[in-house]
């Protein structure tokens, strides 16, 4: 349906590669290629130093992306949007900028579903401030247990950091309810939207979160660019964490004063071409019928789950709600399966998916993850299942003595 909008898919097909790893990074729409080609071939300029017309034009286009992002996620104001180098950098920014607000004995609430990007910055912050990480329990289906979660909030809870959509299990988390609990207890809320924003409409005000993070490259945009949304009343009070050009007002030999948010968090030359490319990707996505995309992805997910469930020895991890499924196979090592799928041109993710604590919680050494996108097709899944059957025919044979 939409796969013709993604030129790389034809190139991959010509090489016999079936791409089912979009949760790692997504292929790019032609609109993005055109935007990059146009900007890079028509003359580049640095932003926010518009001493001449070209720089003014580029800055205007760059800042228009901030408006586009604000609209895309339902932010109240454009200056609630910070451009970072990655989603990981956005979490690190928060962990440093929020550090003065965290005291010894404070509690940071996390789920075991978190990607390392939304775990390690908080783990390190907790170590620096003698704070404690508290873990929200998950149910067998892979959802945060709200009954248990509600009992873990207390006056020491200072921060909640949770994923909207698990990158391993594909489970949608009760983020809105959790953010409401955080607000009631005076805790800040941080939502990892890296997967969630790709597979559903996001409205940060409806979610009620204080901060929302995503990366451009998973959202059919360029790599090297992350986005941090921060509620204006909070973001405007945070100190800068990296220092350099662009983010200053006045600099003397001994001291400096800094710009207001968001520019105070954008030290150095930002990834200008990536921001312009993201603007093109968002415009492409906005022009799509998002409900048709959601229906397409839901049908593919059902096809994937049904196909896996029909195969002997295959066990899905959790019960996915969206776009991706992880599974293990009895007596088959995920590394062996990965190798045989790769030999047959199937690109899927194998291993621990940057979520070691979750794999430990689930009691598995690793898994195979198949992830879908709006450009995935039933034929991709058919090729995957054929390759899976070929691989399992070999790996499930009794070893010869």
């Amino acid at each position: 349906m939409w796969h013709n909008d993604f030129p790389a898919l034809a190139a991959l097909a010509a090489r016999g590669i079936t791409y089912l790893d979009s949760a790692a990074t997504a292929q790019k729409p032609a609109a993005l290629l055109l935007a990059l080609q146009t900007y890079l071939s028509q003359g580049v300029a640095n932003v926010h130093r518009a001493g001449y017309r070209l720089a003014d034009e580029v800055t205007t286009a760059f800042e228009a992306c901030r408006d586009e992002v604000a609209t895309f996620i339902g932010a109240a104001q454009r200056d609630e949007i910070v451009f970072t180098r990655s989603a990981t950098e956005a979490f690190n920014l928060l962990a440093y900028a929020l550090e003065p607000q965290i005291q010894a004995g404070d509690e940071l609430l996390l789920s075991p579903l978190e990607h390392h990007a939304n775990l390690l910055p908080w783990q390190q912050l907790a170590a620096r401030r003698s704070a404690t990480l508290v873990w929200l329990p998950i149910t067998a289906s892979g959802h945060i247990d709200m009954t248990a979660a509600s009992k873990l909030f207390n006056p020491r809870t200072k921060l909640l950091a949770v994923t909207q959509l698990s990158n391993v299990l594909g489970t949608v988390q009760p983020v809105r309810e959790l953010c409401a609990l955080a607000e009631q207890h005076g805790a800040l809320s941080v939502v990892d939207g890296a997967q969630g924003i790709v597979h559903g409409t996001v409205d940060v005000r409806a979610l009620g979160c204080d901060f929302y993070v995503f990366s451009a490259h998973k959202l059919y945009g360029p790599d090297g660019l992350g986005v941090l949304y921060g509620r204006h009343s909070l973001l405007s009070q945070l100190p800068p964490w990296q220092f350099g050009g662009e983010m200053v007002q006045q600099v003397s030999r001994a001291s400096a004063s800094f710009q207001a948010a968001p520019l105070r968090f954008e030290a150095g030359t930002p990834p200008i071409s990536a921001v312009l490319a993201l603007r093109a990707s968002l415009a492409y996505l906005r022009a799509l019928d998002r409900s048709a995309v959601a229906a397409h992805e839901a049908a593919l997910l059902q096809h994937l789950k049904d196909g896996l469930d029909q195969r002997a020895g295959v066990r899905r991890l959790g019960d996915s709600d969206a776009a991706l499924v992880s599974f293990v196979v009895d007596a088959v090592h995920h590394a062996d399966l990965a190798q045989l799928l790769d030999e047959q041109g199937i690109a899927v993710r194998s291993g621990q998916h940057c979520a070691h604590p979750l794999m430990a919680t689930l009691g598995v050494a690793g898994s195979t993850r198949v992830s879908l996108s709006l450009y995935s097709q039933d034929a991709d899944l058919e090729r995957f299942f054929t390759a899976l059957d070929n691989a399992l025919a070999l790996l499930q044979e009794e070893p010869t003595p």
Binding site: H333, E343, N390, E397
Partner: protein
């Protein structure tokens, strides 16, 4: 330098079976011939980092000849390890230093398995084999 007999056998087996199914069935069979040690004897010191599946590697000396053994839970990976260890075993450290590993895997039809970015970690295993041989 002529090939060790076990290595010649590996070469014959894989060259006879170029198809997807044949090659991988041969690798699974070779996995059973891997000079191995029991999982109870695995320890942190022998763990080779950089493998998606966990691989433990040991080296013993008989005179000047080196003998490697490995342990892994992944069957196909054991076959790939056997391809390496059956080529290395019985050689001296000086002989091992002259083995052309990319050429060996190319002869086996497994060249792409040795890339440093591959999650199977075969390249890390080769590096560990060489480091262990230098330490003897």
């Amino acid at each position: 330098m002529s090939l060790p007999a076990a290595a010649q056998q590996v070469l014959n087996l894989l060259q006879q079976s170029p198809s997807f199914e044949g090659r991988n069935r041969a690798l699974l069979q070779l996995g059973n011939q891997l000079p191995s040690f029991a999982s109870e004897r695995r320890n942190e010191q022998d763990l080779v980092h950089g493998c998606d599946s966990q691989v433990w590697l040991r080296c013993a000396q008989q005179g000047t000849a080196l003998h490697f053994s490995a342990s892994s839970d992944a069957r196909l990976i054991r076959g790939l390890l056997a391809c390496l260890l059956l080529r290395a075993n019985g050689l001296t450290a000086a002989e091992l230093a002259h083995v052309d590993w990319p050429d060996w895997l190319t002869q086996l039809g497994l060249k792409q398995q040795l890339s440093p970015s591959r999650a199977n970690g075969l390249n890390a295993v080769v590096q560990r084999v060489l480091a262990l041989s230098r330490a003897t």
